[in-house]
């Protein structure tokens, strides 16, 4: 018996008995038992959250350098551009400036938000007056002070403050030392999360500040193999499996031309969008739609059916 069947037509050939509800119930029970077994055997990861306090306590020198960098405008967030500020145009895709076009919808001025405003909240005359002197100075003067202090701090390993022997740092050393005191007390975490709303659910400011830290936050992530250049997108803390379904997304960041491109994020996101479109279009994609015919794995799947026909 050779049957010619149009797959778009309803099946009228032989059938076998089947119980879709029973199958569904069995599947839920099986998956439930599997998940429970895996949970009992392996549990799940929970590396505690870090704070500006834990940063200041663990690596005060990195904190002082990053805070100075915020004032000097040299950190990642200070030079980010949209959606936080106008410091840069951000990555582009040819003529498309997608990041810039979306606009500054989440305004963050790192020097002001992370350093100056919290200092003005402190119940300490040195802290508030140093912040006031900073505010009163011209942007050019501010930049000279902060850049000079950043250079000086960078030259002394582990330093959290440097004496101003040549009178070139202005209020910056006092500001940074005061902010370090504030961070160590935990008050800076509160100040940054409650600066926009008294009951915070948004952690943009403290997370942007933390993400500017290479010696603490970035370092903790690298140790857990979570860095973008370490396939970090698909990895998890500890030894648990992570988002392995992001393997292809993660791959591009490891190879050229993406690896060293300033536009890597735009390029990879666009490429993944196009590849996803291709996957959706497999049914009409030349060649790819023929692969299941050329590599006949279906012969194994429908082995019984083909045997029965013969």
């Amino acid at each position: 018996m050779v049957m010619k069947v149009d797959p778009s037509k309803k099946w009228t050939g032989p059938v076998r008995s089947y119980d879709i509800i029973k199958e569904g119930v069995i599947a839920v029970v099986v998956v439930g038992l599997l998940a429970a077994g895996l949970s009992l055997f392996f549990s799940s990861p929970d590396e505690p959250a870090v704070t500006l306090k834990s940063w200041a306590m663990t690596n005060p020198a990195d904190f002082a350098q990053t805070a100075t960098g915020e004032l000097a405008g040299t950190t990642t967030s200070a030079g980010y551009g949209a959606p936080y500020n106008h410091a840069a145009k951000g990555p582009t895709l040819g003529p498309l400036k997608l990041q810039d076009w979306a606009g500054v919808r989440i305004p963050v001025d790192p020097a002001k938000s992370f350093v100056v405003e919290p200092l003005l909240m402190m119940n300490n005359v040195d802290a508030t007056s140093s912040a006031e002197s900073w505010k009163a100075a011209t942007p050019d003067q501010q930049n000279k002070w902060a850049t000079a202090y950043a250079d000086a701090l960078g030259k002394v390993d582990g330093a959290t403050s440097i004496p101003d022997t040549k009178n070139e740092f202005g209020p910056v050393p006092t500001m940074v030392s005061s902010l370090l005191v504030m961070a160590k007390s935990g008050a800076l975490d509160g100040a940054l999360t409650t600066s926009d709303t008294p009951l915070p659910t948004n952690f943009t400011k403290p997370l942007l500040f933390l993400a500017d830290s290479e010696g603490y936050f970035g370092d903790l992530a690298s140790k857990q193999h979570l860095g973008g250049d370490q396939w970090g997108v698909m990895n998890e803390t500890g030894s648990w499996p992570g988002q392995s379904w992001l393997w292809l997304f993660s791959l591009w960041y490891q190879i050229e031309p993406f690896k060293s491109s300033g536009n890597a994020d735009t390029l990879v996101m666009t490429l993944m969008g196009l590849l996803t479109l291709c996957l959706a279009l497999f049914p009409v994609f030349p060649f790819i739609r023929k692969i299941p015919y050329l590599i006949p794995i279906h012969r194994l799947i429908w082995k019984k059916w083909y045997a029965r026909k013969l």
């Binding site: 392996f42 140790k223 030894s239 499996p241």
Partner: protein, 55 residues
């Protein structure tokens, strides 16, 4: 992490092992998950399906 909360028979709360060559790096945890998908596909294709009653 709080030890009592872990309650796992097998402790995975330690630095992961990574395998790979050059830029290709994968954690053992992720590798097991990825390989298991290939193994499951192969088993699904090769293990005979129990006979049903044909009508």
């Amino acid at each position: 992490m709080h030890a009592a909360l872990q309650m796992a028979l097998i402790n995975l709360n330690h630095p992961a092992h990574y395998l790979g060559i050059g830029p290709f790096q994968v954690s053992v945890g992720n590798l097991i998950v990825i390989l298991s998908m290939f193994v499951i596909l192969a088993l699904a294709i090769f293990i005979p399906f129990p006979d049903g009653k044909d009508n």
